[in-house]
């Protein structure tokens, strides 16, 4: 209750400040209300400064990021520099890196075999993920045909793609509309020449799709090992965004823009980004 009342006070201060601001235009005296208003922001900044997260906590979060996102080399170096214990199971990180690299490189058969080597349960139980990987593989097969120099590929060039689709993807297709639609779209890649494709088809050829699937695969592997499927820092950022939203909804006086400090632009842009002051 006390906290709520405090929020209300701040809100009223702000209101007062706004009305006195207009009044100030005709007077040149230093305005106390304005200083009140500034002090609320200042108190936020001060509070931020007062929060001194321990360096080891921050280092831990960074290490966690490197481990779960799969940067074994960096993790090792970081461990040396910060005197943190190195990642416990470097091999398991490297396994994930190999899978990720294979997906990014379009070598899907290799990726699937690697995943099955880690734990065959992953793809055996997660049909959607398995389907996505197979779909990517089909896309890669089609891509090689499309990429052949020369005129339009002959219909027979696509035979391996059709064979693959028949054996690997089709059995699952009728079980759910989402599989069927995905398969149909992918097959459509064989019909349209790349330059005439609509964006929804182009999307399939975009390598961004590989990255998306790779992230899902990484998560699935982490989960299969009973680990957190996401780096802690991602959760922290989400929690921050949520808290900011809640605070704004409760009309707590906050700077309109609180930089994360991740982008260079943030550093240059108005740290005191309150439009009202200017």
């Amino acid at each position: 209750m006390a906290l709520g009342a405090w929020y209300l006070d701040l809100h009223e201060c702000r209101h007062v400040a706004r009305s006195t601001d207009t009044h100030l235009k005709s007077s040149s005296t230093v305005s106390p209300p304005s200083s009140i208003m500034r002090s609320t922001h200042a108190s936020f900044t001060r509070k931020v400064e007062e929060m001194k997260p321990s360096k080891s906590d921050i280092n831990w979060v960074i290490m966690d990021y490197l481990v779960s996102e799969g940067y074994p080399g960096a993790a090792e170096k970081f461990a040396q520099e910060t005197n943190l214990p190195g990642p416990v199971d470097n091999e398991s990180i490297r396994e994930r890196v190999r899978v990720r690299n294979a997906i990014h490189g379009g070598r899907l058969d290799e990726a699937i075999e690697l995943i099955n080597e880690i734990d065959p349960e992953i793809l055996d139980n997660n049909h959607l993920l398995h389907f996505h990987l197979l779909q990517l593989q089909l896309i890669e097969i089609i891509r090689t045909v499309l990429a052949k120099p020369g005129s339009n590929p002959a219909a027979t060039d696509f035979l391996p793609a059709i064979k693959f689709a028949t054996e690997q993807l089709s059995p699952r297709a009728p079980t759910d509309p989402k599989y069927q639609q995905a398969l149909e779209r992918t097959m459509a890649l064989m019909i349209f020449p790349p330059e005439k494709m609509t964006p929804e088809f182009k999307e399939l050829l975009d390598e961004e799709l590989r990255r998306k699937v790779a992230v899902d695969v990484n998560k699935a592997i982490l989960e299969s090992r009973g680990e957190r499927s996401e780096a802690k820092i991602r959760q922290l950022i989400k929690a921050r965004a949520w808290a900011e939203q809640e605070a704004k909804a409760a009309k707590v006086d906050l700077p309109a823009y609180i930089p994360l400090g991740l982008d260079a632009a943030d550093e240059l842009g108005g740290v005191d980004g309150d439009a009202m002051v200017s």
């Binding site: 139980n125 959607l128 009728p174 989960e223």
Partner: protein, 902 residues
């Protein structure tokens, strides 16, 4: 694919398979694995091609060759582990098995035909390599869970396949792994723990956990529980559920184990702290998972795995039930956390129709099963079982019913809340089995088994339990339960083919047959008397425990039926049972039930708590009259039924509320009594380290002694004896209720006519004399001990209450009773029985005997009083004027006054 198989398993000797060929074998297995992962149709083809035999061959062969470095599963994992090519082959083969078993129920018959569970267990015993161990456990778990799907297939009712991995050896291996797992907490071990917990859940086996908690002291257990709580809180989704399940199993195992009398109050204090911790930290987590399952929310932050959510939905309620069952404070904690609010929608939702999954497509025509009968069983996939959606609904329903049964166990408020949630009709619907002609093969004819078509056996059992605990509320019995028409489906389940269902339905019947139950008439009209009587009589001689459980429950229900029933019903029931049979049952058809007494040195019995009248667990903190008693609570399947007794017996007992335990050794009288559940079997091998006398009592608290007692208790022979005593108790109470009421005199005349006075009183005397002594001569017998050992006090109470009823009949019946000299002699020692309930019953009986019916009876009454004085009973009553129990004192005062008025 035949080529691959050939590459994997070349015929001939593999003993000296060179490294190169091993590598080729591993590669071939790897290829096979990649071929079938995620492709169920290919799995089926592989099985038909004989892959199962090949895998068994590979695994058992390499086990033999790697036998030289047979590992010690109990020891710590070696730090340096060299992964050999043979390990690699085994790993890949195990992966293939994992994947095959994931294919579902159809793959269970071929895997079992090949003896795969045993092969895997052997493999588990021989390896400490974490990867291989994890994969092997995973494979076992996959087989067990596929098997459990097969179990619920209504078309496979007669299925005889069973997975029996929890053999003695299996338990040793698993608990060995658990021990090493608990000592180092790497994530891979955590995963193993999860798998083991799951395997155990499927088999409902506590054994593995009992074996780790056994010998551990309360601090150890509390630390383990705290760690599991921490683990549960740090995890998400299904893993969290598994941690909670482990917590429940450990807690239940400890509770069954709780007899450390040495530092009793400290021990109890620690037990209470643990319960409190679980109530505050564990139960709300379980309730939260139930809520998530109920609201269809994903349990993790952003999980991609539907599989995990599905498992949470199916199991959250079960885990909650397991946690709170038998602990009323935890039940309250669960309801406070909103359990009823969230469980009920799950139950309702399980009846919603689900769109059946569309079948997979195949480029090839699926080969007809024309030649399937000719192929060996290891190459023949079985039925796919229920459609997965229906199976899911059944599992959710079963879990929700279990949770409701547990929540409604003790608190009437909870039962009312359940009724208000409107799920009583769902319980009713859950009592209907699938129609007998239903078969899952029907789906080939275009018919699909949906969630509304019936219920699996597991659901039926859970529904019976829910009905049973709900029916403990008298007001519900007379309102919502009768409205829902719950009696009819339960009656029909009495004729179900599965003996477990029969038993559960009988248990549910017990409360429906109570005097004030409006369903009594309906059930009688349906023919419940005949059914129950034939059930009671059906079990064969020397039958298994299960048979006796059905006998106990049936007699229990009939006992309820006897109370305040019209004379015709009583006569008819007695006729149906047969008076000869009844007497035989009370005497104990199997005389070995009397052999247990030969305790060397008159060993002290470590007793179980008797079921008290209110069905409460015995409160160990409240000191008993003698202060030296040893009482133990046991999670015995029979004891579970105890609370039904609260309505059953006649008024003398009905207002006994306070809890008490069996007192086994009464210091003041130096009398030894047997626990009601007959725990006194201490044979020579398990002789307690000390010969207990009053001064030596603290010595018998040693853990070694207790674990030896425990070991004996778990013997099947003792279990059988416990069941035997329970049967006798119910049979005696049947007679007791038969004689209770207005028509007491005419019923007793009826008994006299049927059985004969001599036989009746012989049997009653037999129940009162020390065990092992010939009632006729009053001497000899198996025990030459100077201290007599008496039968369980439950039997003595029942017997004395029958005496009361006889004494309440006509004056001539009183005279008949007083003429039984051996009976009076046998009765006398029980006036100083350490159990106050026995003493009260004794005085009641005397008071009835000295009661003057009318003027014409006065002379006879005086004569009866003289008889009682002559045999010392009057003196015994007078001594009870100074009894520590108020009730006993008051009754004794009345008794003495009646003596003086004569």
């Amino acid at each position: 694919m035949a080529d691959t198989l050939a590459a994997i398993y070349p015929m001939g000797s593999m003993e000296a398979l060179p490294e190169v060929e091993l590598e080729a074998q591993a590669t071939a297995l790897r290829m096979l694995k990649n071929e079938i992962v995620g492709h169920d149709q290919r799995k089926e083809r592989q099985v038909c091609d004989g892959v199962v035999d090949m895998l068994v061959g590979v695994l058992s062969l390499h086990q033999r060759t790697t036998g030289s470095r047979k590992s010690d599963a109990n020891g710590p994992t070696p730090v340096t582990w060299s992964w050999t090519q043979k390990d690699e082959v085994r790993l890949q083969a195990t992966f293939v098995i994992c994947t095959l078993a994931n294919g579902g129920a159809a793959f269970v018959p071929p895997l079992l035909a090949a003896g795969m569970p045993q092969v895997l267990m052997d493999s588990l015993a021989q390896t400490t390599a974490p990867r291989l161990r994890t994969a092997t456990l995973q494979a076992l778990w996959n087989i067990v869970s596929a098997w459990s799907a097969l179990q619920v297939d209504p078309g496979e009712a007669a299925s005889t396949v069973c997975v029996d991995i929890l053999t003695k050896q299996g338990i040793d291996v698993l608990s060995g792994i658990l021990r090493s797992t608990l000592s180092d907490g790497a994530h891979i071990q955590q995963l193993q723990l999860r798998l083991i917990a799951d395997i155990n859940q499927e088999r409902r086996g506590l054994s593995v956990f009992e074996s780790i908690t056994q010998g551990g002291d309360v601090d150890h257990v509390n630390a383990l529980c705290s760690w599991l709580l921490l683990l549960a809180r740090s995890m998400q989704g299904h893993s969290r559920l598994v941690a909670l399940r482990l917590l429940a199993l450990v807690n239940n195992a400890v509770d069954a184990d709780s007899f450390d009398v040495g530092h009793r109050s400290e021990y109890m204090q620690k037990n209470r702290e643990r319960k409190k911790q679980i109530a505050l930290l564990g139960v709300p987590l379980a309730a939260k998972l139930v809520q998530m399952a109920s609201e269809g929310r994903s349990s993790g932050s952003d999980r991609s795995a539907d599989h995990d959510d599905m498992l949470v939905k199916e199991q959250a309620c079960n885990v909650l039930a397991l946690l709170v069952r038998d602990f009323d404070e935890l039940q309250v904690a669960a309801v406070d956390a909103g359990a009823i609010k969230h469980v009920c929608p799950i139950l309702k939702k399980s009846f919603d129709p689900v769109p059946p999954a569309k079948p997979m497509w195949s480029a090839r025509r699926t080969a007809g099963n024309a030649d399937s009968t000719s192929s060996p069983p290891t190459r023949r996939p079985g039925s796919q079982g229920l459609p997965p959606e229906t199976l899911h609904a059944m599992r959710c329903r079963q879990g929700a019913l279990q949770a409701l049964a547990a929540l409604a166990e003790k608190e009437d408020v909870h039962r009312k809340a359940i009724v208000e949630a409107g799920v009583v009709p769902c319980i009713f619907d859950s009592l209907k089995p699938f129609p007998p002609d239903y078969s899952t093969d029907d789906k080939r004819r275009g018919q699909v088994v949906g969630p509304k078509d019936g219920n699996t056996t597991a659901v039926l059992l859970a529904a019976c339990r829910a009905a049973k605990t709900m029916a403990r509320s008298v007001s519900l019995l007379r309102t919502s339960l009768i409205d829902a028409g719950i009696a009819k489906p339960i009656f029909q389940l009495l004729h179900h083919a599965d003996p477990e269902v029969q038993l559960a339905a009988t248990d549910a019947c017990i409360n429906l047959l109570l005097e004030f139950s409006p369903m009594r008439e309906d059930l009688i009209a349906e023919g419940v008397v005949k059914t129950l009587c034939s059930q009671a009589k059906r079990c064969g001689l020397g039958g298994a425990n299960g048979d006796l459980r059905l006998r106990v429950s049936s007699l229990w229900a009939l006992k309820h039926l006897m109370s305040a029933s019209p004379r015709e019903i009583k006569v008819k029931t007695l006729e149906e049972l047969g008076s000869g049979w009844l007497i035989g049952i009370i005497r104990g058809e199997q005389q070995q039930a009397r052999e247990y007494v030969s305790a060397p040195g008159g060993g002290v019995s470590v007793g179980l708590s008797a079921p008290n009248a209110a069905g409460e667990r015995v409160d160990l903190l409240n000191p008993q009259s003698s202060g030296m008693d040893v009482d133990v609570d046991e999670a015995d399947p029979l004891a579970e039924e105890d609370d039904e007794q609260q309505y059953g017996n006649d008024e003398e007992c009905a207002n006994d509320e306070e809890g008490d335990g069996e007192v086994m050794f009464d210091i003041s009288s130096s009398t030894h009594y047997q626990a009601s559940q007959l725990r006194s079997t201490l044979n020579k091998h398990h002789h307690p380290p000390t010969s207990p006398t009053a001064t030596q009592v603290p010595a018998f608290n040693s853990r070694r002694y207790l674990s030896s007692v425990r070991a004996i208790e778990q013997t099947p022979a003792l279990r059988a004896q416990q069941a035997e005593v329970a049967v006798q108790e119910q049979a005696l109470d049947f007679i007791r209720n038969l004689l209770n009421g207005e028509d007491c005199a005419s019923m007793f005349d009826h008994l006299l006519q049927l059985i004969g006075a001599g036989r009746i009183f012989d049997v009653l005397t037999e129940k009162l004399v020390p065990v092992g002594i010939d009632p006729a001569t009053g001497s000899g017998g198996a025990t030459s001990s100077t201290r007599p050992i008496y039968g369980p006090s439950a039997l003595i109470i029942s017997t004395v209450n029958i005496l009361t009823h006889i004494a309440n009949a006509l004056p001539r019946h009183k005279q008949l009773l007083i003429a039984q000299k051996p009976l009076l002699k046998a009765w006398l020692p029980h006036f100083i029985h350490p159990d106050r309930k026995v003493r009260v019953a004794c005085v009641w009986a005397v008071n009835s005997l000295t009661w003057i019916d009318d003027e014409s009876d006065r002379r006879d009454a005086r004569q009866r009083a003289q008889e009682l004085r002559a045999c010392g009973i009057e003196g015994a009553v007078r001594r009870l004027l100074g009894d520590e129990d108020l009730d006993v004192r008051e009754r004794a005062r009345t008794g003495v006054r009646q003596f003086e008025q004569l």
